[in-house]
Amino acid sequence: MIKILIVEDDANIAKLMEATVAIGGYEGIVCNNGAEAFEEIEHGNYDLILLDVMLPDMNGFEIMQKRTNTETPVIFITAKQELTDKVRGLRLGAEDYIVKPFEAMELLARIEVILRRVKRTENIYSYGNISVNVEEHTCKSNGEEVYLTPKEFEVLVFFIQHKDVAISRDRLLAAVWGFEYEGETRTIDIHIQQLRKKLNLKDKLVTIPKLGYRLESAKEQ
């Protein structure tokens, strides 16, 4: 299981982040103090670090400067939204910079991107009788290859990665088409219909009124 170190001094926000990463299927370990976090980063074995900037004992920027273990990717999560802070954070070697308040799905998506970049994610996902290989960009249903367009493929992967989570059309647009996409959410509906048809997911990929869609766990089958 992928281990994520959550460095955050506000107990409630730490709890929130822990619950959020749990949705993505990661294990979150909370640390609420800068100096302790530094020790953990140096000696612990984590796949990703979510780092707050304003921390007691040692702030996030200092931790970034002093750390010798630069292998582990870091995402800054902070209330400081000024460009200079952002630039500073990224210059210090952070992979990303998320400004509070953030949405759970946004955090998950960014974690996903970084883990994929450093190749710590799995390449093969399976869902019921469907198996997806991200590397080969192939999708098999009952061992038979099903042809999916690139966007359909990405939508499917996104749903499999976030099983049992209600995903809004906007979120899906941002995750698959990119944040700058200005198309209609209607596009999403068409892709969902295609997926349902091609993979026979009519009962699993359910519509949630006024919100979006959700892929139910395969277990209940």
Binding site: N12, I13, M54, A79, P101, F102, V165, A166
Partner: protein
């Protein structure tokens, strides 16, 4: 034209005028003196000539045995006596009809000379070119004759002309030398002005820390000094403004951080509640609880913030209040907070009047006691005392709590500063209490001081001006 050019030009013109006037005047004087001397000697010569000629004429008369010499005889005698002479003085005799009787050389008598002699009856001198003509009317042999002498005065004239030329040359040389010296002097004298100019320009461009060198004690150094004073005032003001801007930015930064922290939890957990399919009852209650407590925190924050912002702006209701009564009233309402944590609160004051805004004063004591309660352990003692002394009112808030470390002391009245963030938040603090107190105290023209020993407790001392004790 630049100032240095003006000063230079005007001074040069004046000096040159003075020098030329003086030299011309001197030259004129010396020339007329020399000419006078020449005239004197010529006049003596003329007199001598006339006198000696007259005496010689008597001898001639005796020799000729004539009572009166005819004009012809006279002419002959003159020719014998003076002969022809191109050098020395020219001599000319004329009769009353202006006819030339004799001259020892070709002479051109200037017009009007003889008429002048005839009209005045005196001897007369006239300068014509380089010649000096002396004329007198003499009665000889029963007739009037005019004697005219022509003397060369070219020596005097030449000296005069020479000197005139010399003075011109000397004046030119002087002008050049004076101009050079003047140029250097003016440049040196006005050099500070250039420095002032440069300095002022630099200051105007925003280098407020720039200073102009002040040398000597003249008006320019005075100007430089005043310029420096101005620059200093500007610099101080700019610094003050920058400081205010920085404080404001700091405040906004802190505010946005303080707003975002609860907001992140509220948004995050409500998001989780919305998107997750299966949520255990336990988590649902936990998440909702967090959302509620964070929302409460935001409400506290916004309330405190409103209080802090409006404290100086709202119309304050200044009234003479009796401190004894006010303290016991506040004590009663504060007792609830203290009792909740089993604390012993004493709130009392000497009776006496002080002009305060009742609501703000209550808020001040409430915040201070709230801080004391939060810092103290259960069962400890908190004292709030008011007393009048030397025409001032003193408020003292004493607790036996955790105290404040020395290095924290300066920062505690800053907005959003919390000594122990985790504990403050757990107690629902926003870090604005003491900032508000400071504002209230300064509105009452008072001073607030903190004394503390970590682990032993804190003493807050407030001094407000005015007040009338009953005691």
């Amino acid at each position: 034209m630049k100032l240095w050019q003006k000063v230079f030009l005007y001074t040069l013109i004046l000096v040159m005028l003075a020098v030329s006037m003086t030299s011309i005047l001197l030259l004129k004087n010396s020339f007329s003196f020399a000419l006078d001397q020449k005239k004197q000697s010529v006049y003596s010569e003329h007199e001598f000539l006339v006198t000696s000629f007259k005496s010689m004429m008597i001898t001639e008369r005796l020799k000729e045995n004539a009572i009166v010499l005819e004009e012809k005889k006279l002419k002959k005698f003159m020719e014998e006596t003076f002969g022809k002479n191109d050098k020395g003085s020219g001599i000319l005799f004329c009769n009353a009809q202006n006819e030339q009787v004799y001259s020892n050389r070709e002479m051109l008598v200037p017009a009007g000379l003889l008429e002048a002699v005839r009209d005045t009856g005196k001897s007369y001198m006239q300068v014509d070119g380089y010649q000096l003509y002396t004329a007198s009317a003499e009665s000889m042999e029963g007739k009037t004759y005019y004697v005219v002498m022509e003397n060369d005065i070219s020596d005097v004239m030449e000296i005069h002309e020479n000197m005139l030329w010399q003075i011109q040359v000397i004046s030119m040389v002087c002008a050049v030398v004076i101009a050079l010296i003047l140029l250097v002097v003016v440049k040196i004298l006005l050099h500070p002005l250039k420095k002032i100019n440069e300095g002022t320009r630099s200051i105007a461009q925003g280098n407020y820390q720039e200073r102009i060198p002040e040398r000597g004690h003249d008006e320019l150094s005075e100007l430089a000094h005043n310029m420096n004073c101005m620059a200093e005032a500007v610099e101080t003001n700019v610094q003050a403004l920058e400081h205010v801007a920085e404080d404001r930015k700091h405040f906004i930064d802190n505010l946005s951080h303080e707003m975002k922290t609860p907001l992140t939890s509220i948004l995050g957990f409500s998001d989780l509640l919305q998107i997750k399919k299966d949520i255990t009852e336990e988590s649902r209650i936990e998440y909702a609880g967090i959302i509620k407590s964070e929302a409460t925190r935001m409400r506290t924050l916004s309330g405190k913030l409103m209080e802090l912002i409006t404290v100086g702006e709202t119309n304050l209701d200044w009234k003479q209040e009796d401190m004894g009564e006010l303290f016991s009233e506040i004590g009663t309402s504060l007792k609830v907070i203290a009792d909740n944590r089993n604390m012993n609160l004493a709130c009392e004051s000497e009776p006496g009047n002080l002009c305060v805004d009742r609501e703000l004063f209550k808020s001040l004591l409430y915040n201070l006691v709230d801080n004391a309660v939060k810092a103290s352990a259960e069962g400890s003692r908190i004292q709030v005392k008011g007393r009048f002394e030397d025409g001032q009112f003193y408020i003292e808030v004493l607790d036996e709590g955790v105290g404040i470390a020395k290095e924290e002391m300066e920062k505690i009245t800053q907005a959003f500063y919390m000594v122990d963030k985790a504990r403050s938040r757990a107690n629902g603090g926003a870090g604005l209490g003491l900032a508000l107190c400071e504002e209230i105290v300064s509105l009452h023209q008072g001073k607030m001081k903190f004394e503390s020993r970590p682990g032993e407790g804190t003493r807050v001392l407030i001094r407000m001006k005015g007040g009338l004790s009953y005691a």
